[in-house]
Structure formats: structure tokens, C-alpha cells
């Protein structure tokens, strides 16, 4: 996402201008999808959370101030929607609403499933799944979005000390996990070499 002024487009989309919404959506969708994908506990939920994010963007467009970084503001909105999604009652309610709204989603679902299958090949996903959501948020924002710890504290609205502590614990956990993977790889490699002697 480029650092440009999106205010006129947010205003227009909040007034019901479909073309303005399409512009904003097309420019932000891949970024939003990746962030949701990394943050969510279940990757199958990513398309539904995407839809929640853009409905919330429509509702909140008037709160955006042009002197803010749009990326940071939008990241905050995404993080909040992922958290909301984890509340089961909310999720069920939205699913009922979606069934009413969508006439035929069978093709979409099939296509999304196919896309998820491609994404399954990524190695990051199982690594991130090892972390609780709160620490995962810090890791994703730090290493995917390249945010400083101060920026993460502001975005998540938590003290800097808490961010540092979550960051430290997450890295410790991931380090251990990487070592285990490395150990397994070396073991497999050894077995393979033994068998081909």
C-alpha cells in the first residue's frame, strides 16, 4: 500500500459510491488478506473476516484522519476484526446474516477452498499457529508489517512493556520450535544418508 491520501475515496465510499469502494478494495485487498491470514486461528475463516473488515471500513471511514498513516489505521481495524471473530456468538450471528445475504456461494466456497489448498504449502502458517493470538499479533506486526515495538503498542493500545514481554516470549517459543524442526530435518537427513549407503 502506498502512502497516499485516501480521504476523498473513503468519503465517497462512505456515501455509497461503489466505484470509490472498488478502488479502495482493489488497492488494499491483498494486504488485508495476508494480515488476516497470518492473524486468524483458522485459515478457513479468512474470507469471512475479510468481509467483516470491509463492512467495518465502510462504517469507520469517517473516523480516519488524513494526518494518520492509513496503513497503521487500517491495520488496527483488521486486528480488531480478527479479535471480534474469535467471539463465537458474534461469529454465529454473522453467519446467519450471510446466509440471508448470499444467494449462491457454492462456487465462491469451492474457489476459496482451492486457494486455501495452495496456501497450505506455506511454512509460516503452522509456525504462527504455535503462538497464542496476543503474541501472534506482535510477531506479525513486527516481522510482516515491519512496525516498531512503539508502533505496535500504539496500534494495540497496550503498554510498551507488555509488547516487549510478548515479543520476547514469542521469539523464545519460536526459537525452540525452529530448533525442533531443524533437529527433525537433520535426523531425517541422517536416516536418508544411512539408507543410501
Amino acid at each position: 500500500m502506498k502512502n497516499i491520501d485516501r480521504s476523498p475515496w473513503l468519503i465517497r465510499m462512505s456515501q455509497g459510491d461503489k466505484e470509490a469502494f472498488r478502488m479502495v478494495y482493489e488497492e488494499t485487498r491483498d494486504h488485508a488478506y495476508r494480515l488476516i491470514y497470518y492473524l486468524t486461528s483458522s485459515k478457513e475463516d479468512a474470507p469471512d473476516i475479510m468481509s467483516e473488515v470491509y463492512i467495518e471500513l465502510l462504517k469507520s471511514a469517517g473516523n480516519y484522519r488524513p494526518e494518520q498513516s492509513f496503513k497503521a489505521w487500517f491495520n488496527g481495524l483488521i486486528v480488531r476484526q480478527v479479535r471480534n471473530w474469535n467471539r463465537k456468538s458474534w461469529r454465529l450471528y454473522r453467519i446467519v446474516e450471510k446466509v440471508k445475504l448470499m444467494t449462491d456461494t457454492s462456487h465462491d466456497r469451492a474457489s476459496e477452498a482451492q486457494f486455501s489448498a495452495i496456501s497450505d504449502q506455506l511454512e509460516l502458517y503452522p509456525i504462527l499457529r504455535k503462538l497464542p493470538l496476543k503474541t501472534r499479533e506482535v510477531i506479525v506486526l513486527r516481522y510482516y508489517q515491519d512496525c516498531s515495538l512503539e508502533e505496535i503498542a500504539a496500534l494495540l493500545n497496550i503498554p510498551l512493556g507488555t509488547v516487549k514481554s510478548r515479543h520476547h516470549h514469542a521469539l523464545k517459543q519460536l526459537r525452540r520450535y525452529f530448533e525442533q524442526i531443524q533437529g527433525r530435518k537433520e535426523q531425517n537427513d541422517y536416516v536418508y544418508r544411512e539408507a543410501t549407503k
Binding site: I11, K18, F21, Y25, R29, Y33, M102, E123, L124, L174
Partner: protein, 319 residues
Amino acid sequence: MSIEKQLSEAFKHNEASLLCPPSLDNRIMAEYEQAAMDKGRNVKMMKKGRLPKVALIAVVVVLLCGFAYGSKFLFSNATDKLSYQLYSSDAFHLKEETFQNVRATINEVQSQLAPGEAALVYLPEVIKDFPLYGVYNPEYIADKQQWQQVLEEQGVTEQLPDSLLGDEYQFEAGAVMNYPLIGLDQDDLIAELEAERKSSNNEKPIWRLTDRMMDSYSKFTSVYRAAHGNAIQLSWQIYDEVTKIDGYTSPTTDVEELNLNGKKAHYTKNNQSLLAESGVLQSVMWLAEKDGKSIMYTIESDSPDISKETLIEAAKSLP
């Protein structure tokens, strides 16, 4: 390799392969339409009841260009429906030489526009991240009655004064001032203009005509001129929905709060106004509520000889 570096590289590596499924596009567009319809209904319902104090729509009127970086609050003013804040930002401060070059470019483009035409001028030396600047050539109506009729059609119910400051400043003409819309879909245009700049060896301005305007935020301006050539502009901007405006200006702008016949008003003097003929724009601005609409009044002048006191007197003399 450290765990931090491994993570950064893994995220970077995944970026190209992890894209939003195209099938989601139709679904999200359909949901947007539904939600926008619901939102429209809710806004209409709210209009029947008490209006919320919190602004619903953020409108950005950028005085110099379409950007706002780290900024400093200068002042605010509000009615029940309209709230206005002005900020200054270092991003709008240009070196004198750059300022003069940019003004010359804008003037050159403006002189090539037919009345009513608008253009986007490519000015990478001013705005690095998004180097487009909107320019408009207004279509003036010299007949006062005809102009008064246009104003009435637009909801200006007040009688247009024949003159300002006694008989010193006489009505010359009126025009609807429009702001060209600058936004997300201009990336291709920027690339095209940058390519043109690289291939061109001369100093000619690089620009394109545009017909995309911010129609909802037009400014209705009447020009009054004195025999010695100085001019004062009286403008109305009318808002019939709850609106929030954030304005941005150069950090060298002078600001003073005024009491204008009991109304709160603000005087500003911007020494780096790209659209003012002299480069300096003085303004007195105040807000009012009439017939359920909010009106922003401005008395402005870019004539270098007009004093702050004259401008304030002109504002006070209005009914």
C-alpha cells in the same frame, strides 16, 4: 541466521504467493452495496430525529495539496452540522525558489484551460509521494442578476451586495469554484506523467485535463474590485449534511481569532498560497446555520495592498 531474520524472510518470501482469492471480490462488493444501502437508511432515520454531535462524514479540504503529514492544530470552529479544523504542516512549506517555480507552472497550465476546465498538474518537486496538483479555471458570470440566480439555485438565499466597503469595491463577477478530485486511481497517470517527464528535455509543464471534481464541496465566489485594481472575494460553501472539514496550510500561516459582530471568526494569512496571484492569501472565515444548512463564509484577497483591517471591515459590513 537469527530467528528475527528468518521470520522477516519467511514473510517476504510468502508475499507473492499469498494473494486474496479473486472469488472474494464479488462477495465483498455485494456486501458493500447491501451495507451502504442500510447505512443510507440509518442516516435518513437519524435526520428525522436529533442530529448527532459527532461528525458523520469527514471531508478534507486541503488548502495547498492533497496531503497531510505530521501537523499542528491551529484552530477550530463549528455549528451543529459543520465542524472545521485548520492545521499547519511542514510538508506544505516550500523553498522560495521551488515555490516560485511551482507557481509559474500552475499559472502556465491555468492559462491554457478553457473556462470551466480542470487539470491535474504533475509536480514531483512539491509532493514526493503523490505528485498531482489540481487546477481549475473558473467560468465567471459578470451579470449580477444572472449570478444571483445561480446562487439561489444552489441554496444561497441572501441578497448579494452590490458593493463592499461603501462603494469602494464594486461587484465584478461570480463563479463556482470546483476542486479536482485526486485519489487512488491516479497511479497509472502518475507513471505516465513521470515517463513523459523523463523523455522530455524541455521545461514545459506536464499535465492532463480532468473532469472528475469534488462536486459536493463547490465554493460560490463573488469578486468585488476597486478602481485601483485590488479585489476582495466573498464566498459561500453550503453543507446540508453533517460534515467535518480538516484544512491544511503552510507553517508560516498567520492566524488570529476574531469577534465578528458577536460571531466567532478567524483571520489567516498564508504566505505560500499556490493559487493566489500574488502568492499571499488573506482570509476571514466564519460559520453560520441557516434553514437547516451550514454555511461557511469567507472574505478573501490575494491583492498585496489590502490590509488585514480592510478585510475584517469588509467582513463586518456584511448583513
